[in-house]
């Protein structure tokens, strides 16, 4: 189908042409108020065509996969290209290359999971959330999907692959004596057997109950231990700062700092497109460039930005296999699976070494960070107060403002425990001397 679309586009006068086709089938069940809310099944397929007439680039797509619609998409892409000005940065399409060899992409159990399976697991998750009578509400979902993608271009590139995914998420609310608190848990993998809605429900319920009894704290400078989810939230700012597009447009404070110490020596951050069973693993990226493992920060030294082909060429670098898109849009840079190398200390030591501090499960508001400057102001989600090396009590409210580069420079310990978040493999980290406003 992709080769056919490329052929059509070339016939219509395109100098270069590329087609990407994706297909997915998803079943999922939603939970609300500790009950099943809805069950849904979706089938989605489509094809996107990108063409270049010289340096004029056009894009079109269709979710209607008849030969006639595919020909029309090719026509439309050519028409769009003609309407656009020359793009001096256009790097041309990538040539063929051997796709990466990846493990654990496809699981027949996830591919064949039915609505009934998802509903049964969701019921188990609901029961597991009710760890005791204080759990009053709960929401979340369980879902399975099968995906396939194919890509072909006029330079002879032709690739395809299929994979699966499974996910479970639970958000529990507990109430006691006028206080209410929440707990959250999430698991995702390409393999059905890696996720356990039972485990997810129980963890969310337990966290909600443990977070009851919130007390206020005073504004102070203290040490903050980040849960892997909180680290993942902060890394969403870091990967924006590492985007090749922001590098080219000088919209990141990391511009010009390649080879320099930009973070604590404790931190090594890897973008891994080939991590076994992870949900952003695929043999190739959305332009057909082989997936790879890219060290971004090694012991605090900036090693690489992330690029698709366009912004890579613009910056004089190669694509790092970070082009991302569905069939209906042009490629954009996005991280693959993020891995922070584990440290040597157990989490218990990260906490016991803190005189005054906070353990934070997640952050809210990281999407409002100012990317060009790196400044951010976020709300700590489910924070717990640490005093004299011990977890004391949940905290009512706490905000952290600062600069992302200062923040990652102040990391002084990384746990040996790591949590698999489906698209990230992350430890707990401790950040010294953070201004916390309560």
């Amino acid at each position: 189908m992709c080769e056919k679309a490329v052929e059509e586009a070339l016939k219509l006068g395109a100098g270069e042409a590329e087609a990407i086709a994706t297909w997915s089938r998803a079943v999922g069940v939603e939970v609300e108020k500790l009950q099943l809310k809805s069950a849904r099944a979706h089938v989605e397929a489509g094809l996107g065509v990108r063409v270049a007439l010289g340096r004029k680039v056009g894009f079109s797509f269709t979710s209607h996969l008849t030969p006639d619609s595919i020909r029309k998409a090719a026509e439309r892409a050519v028409e769009v290209a003609k309407a656009k000005p020359e793009d001096p940065l256009w790097p041309g399409l990538p040539g063929p290359a051997e796709p990466a060899s990846v493990q654990g992409l496809y699981d027949p159990k996830a591919a064949e999971a039915t609505l009934e399976d998802a509903a049964e697991l969701a019921r188990q998750m609901i029961e597991a959330m009710k760890v005791d009578a204080r759990v009053k509400a709960g929401s979340g979902g369980v879902g399975f999907a099968a995906h396939a993608s194919a890509i072909a271009n006029s330079r002879g590139l032709a690739l395809s692959a299929q994979g699966t995914s499974a996910h479970a998420s639970a958000y529990a609310v507990a109430e006691e004596a006028g206080d209410s608190s929440a707990g959250f848990e999430y698991e995702a993998s390409r393999q059905a057997s890696d996720i356990s809605p039972l485990r997810v429900g129980e963890a969310a319920g337990r966290m909600a109950v443990e977070n009851l009894g919130k007390k206020s704290i005073e504004t102070a400078t203290m040490d903050v231990v980040l849960h892997p989810l909180a680290l993942a939230s902060l890394l969403s700012i870091v990967t924006e700062e590492l985007s090749g597009e922001n590098l080219y447009k000088k919209r990141t404070p990391l511009a010009g700092k390649l080879g320099e110490q930009v973070a604590s020596e404790e931190l090594t951050l890897v973008d891994d497109g080939v991590l076994e069973k992870a949900t952003r693993t695929w043999p190739f990226d959305a332009e057909g460039v082989p997936s790879r493992r890219t060290v971004l920060v090694e012991r605090g030294v900036l090693k690489s930005f992330i690029f698709d082909r366009y912004w890579g060429k613009a910056c004089g670098a190669e694509s790092t296999g970070n082009a991302s898109r569905g069939y209906s849009s042009e490629p954009r840079i996005a991280p693959r699976n993020l891995v922070v190398e584990a440290g040597s200390k157990p989490l218990s030591e990260l906490i016991s070494e803190v005189d005054e501090g906070m353990l934070v499960v997640d952050f809210m508001g990281t999407h409002t960070a100012n990317i060009p400057s790196g400044d951010f102001s976020v709300v700590a989600y489910l924070p717990s107060y640490i005093k004299g090396g011990e977890l004391k009590h949940p905290v009512k409210q706490a905000m952290i403002s600062g600069n992302i580069l200062d923040f990652i420079a102040k990391v002084d310990a990384v746990s040996r425990e790591v949590k698999n978040l489906g698209r990230a493999l992350l430890p707990y980290v401790r950040v010294r001397g953070v201004r916390v406003s309560a």
Partner: protein
């Protein structure tokens, strides 16, 4: 398309559904994004598929597909029935209020049809708006213009014999200007949009709107921080539109009422606002948020929500109408075939009264005039709201004195409705999108200038 629709509905009934419907959509979509003279993104394509809903023994099931073959839609019908059955026995079975089956065809393409207008012309409109901002002042450091359009066909068919075909088009343009000077940064957004042809978008003079965004962003660089506390507020049509939509409209959505998530539940007939407050949601207007039939095939209507201060009605779909023993009024909308319809607004506004703007102002010894909106938040269960204005002016002794920035307005919906003491004679509607349960749909909102006594004004957090 009608054959496919019939096939899916029959398949769902055969598999045990008591009611089933399908929406098949075939749309062409274009999206242009321009920033500081550069076309950052441009894509045009075809978006097509079907969504099937099945009611099986009192439970809803839903399934969507982009596979518009006979096998594809049959499979979708089967999955819709299976998803209903997977839910287990319902605590409270769903029943539908009666709706008269209809056969209708609606065409809403306007005079200057999107399909017949070359892409170059749409690019020029987008680039002209961008130029109007960048050329306004060197203080304008960044600009974004977004143009989006969709045109095509939608067929709705139900097992009760309703068949509605809509051939329509929509286009939308938004302009954002960011101005910077001496370390201060301000932004301003203006929008234009039309349900129908391109001529309706052009009537709204997009380049002038774009220039206004640049002008206001630059002006706001000189603005001062607002006072805070309880005071008299005059809201412009755009700001009052957001109040009416967010604070009153959402609380009048019958699905929230039935779920016990609305502060207006059980208050039909009760006096909840001052006598001069009449609030309407009107899908029969020739405006952005309108539709002729909703996504359950029910004819849409002009719904008077609040009449002279008394709560009159809600926005209802068939399910909530049955529960509340009211008649459905065509308020079920879905973002696309990928989503099931839920209760939504169309164009929501407060009806004009008889005050001129100067008359609203002259009685105010100290207060704030708020204009436009930068969003905010509402808790419809508690009835609390907080909105940020795009621009505001300090009022002293009946005169507009100085420009303020980062002003927010907050309060309780029910108190605020009673504190409206004067309603202007002007009227303006804005355009936007409303998000609910992950679905964005086009809506309009507005009204005249409105005066509110004892409103809580604060700085934006």
């Amino acid at each position: 398309m009608e054959d496919l629709a019939q096939l899916a509905v029959e398949e769902a009934l055969r598999l045990g559904a008591s009611y089933a419907d399908i929406r098949i959509e075939l749309y062409q979509r274009c999206r242009i994004e321009v920033s500081k003279g550069r076309i950052e993104r441009l894509s045009c394509g075809s978006d097509a598929g079907a969504g099937v809903r099945a009611l099986v023994r009192g439970r809803w099931g839903f399934s969507s597909t982009t596979d518009l073959t006979r096998e594809g839609v049959k499979k979708a019908a089967e999955e819709a029935v299976r998803s209903a059955l997977a839910m287990g026995e319902p605590k409270e079975p769903v029943e539908l209020a009666e709706a008269k089956p209809v056969k209708a065809r609606v065409v809403k393409l306007g005079a200057k049809r999107l399909e017949d207008t070359p892409l170059e012309e749409k690019l020029k409109i987008t680039l002209d708006s961008d130029k109007a901002m960048t050329s306004y002042s060197p203080k304008v450091k960044s600009t974004t213009v977004l143009y989006e359009e969709a045109y095509g066909r939608k067929v709705f068919a139900s097992s009760e014999g309703t068949l509605v075909e809509t051939v329509g088009s929509r286009c939308y343009l938004s302009h954002t200007a960011v101005a910077r000077e001496n370390g201060r940064i301000q932004s301003y957004r203006t929008r234009a949009a039309a349900y129908g042809g391109l001529e309706k978008l052009l009537e709204q003079k997009p380049a002038e709107k774009a220039r206004k965004a640049a002008e206001r962003a630059c002006m706001l660089l000189e603005a001062e921080a607002p006072p805070s506390g309880k005071m008299t507020v005059i809201a412009d049509p755009e700001h009052i539109g957001v109040f009416v939509h967010e604070a009153v409209g959402h609380a009048c959505e019958a699905d929230a009422v039935v779920a016990g998530e609305s502060c207006l539940a059980g208050k039909i007939g009760e006096k909840i606002g001052s006598d001069i407050v009449t609030i309407v949601d009107d899908s029969t207007l020739d405006w952005w948020g309108s539709e002729e039939y909703d996504d359950e095939g029910v004819k849409t209507a002009r719904r008077v929500l609040i009449e002279e201060g008394a709560l009159k009605s809600y926005m209802l779909n068939r399910e909530s109408a049955f529960k509340l023993k009211m008649g459905p009024n065509g308020s079920a909308r879905a973002m696309s075939f990928r989503h099931p319809p839920i209760v939504r607004m169309s164009n929501t506004y407060i009806q004009p009264g008889d005050y001129r703007f100067e008359e609203l102002l002259e009685d105010v010894s100290y207060g704030v005039y708020v204009k436009g909106s930068r969003g905010g938040q509402v808790d419809p269960a508690v009835g609390y709201f907080q909105f940020n204005a795009q621009e505001a002016w300090l009022i002293e002794k009946g005169e507009l004195k100085k420009l303020l920035t980062d002003v927010s307005l907050s309060g309780l919906i029910l108190e605020t409705l009673k504190h409206i003491d004067a309603v202007g004679r002007d009227m303006e509607l804005s355009v936007g999108f409303c998000g609910k349960a992950g679905q964005m749909v086009p809506v309009g909102d507005g009204g005249p200038h409105v005066r509110i006594r004892e409103a809580v004004v604060g700085g934006r957090r």
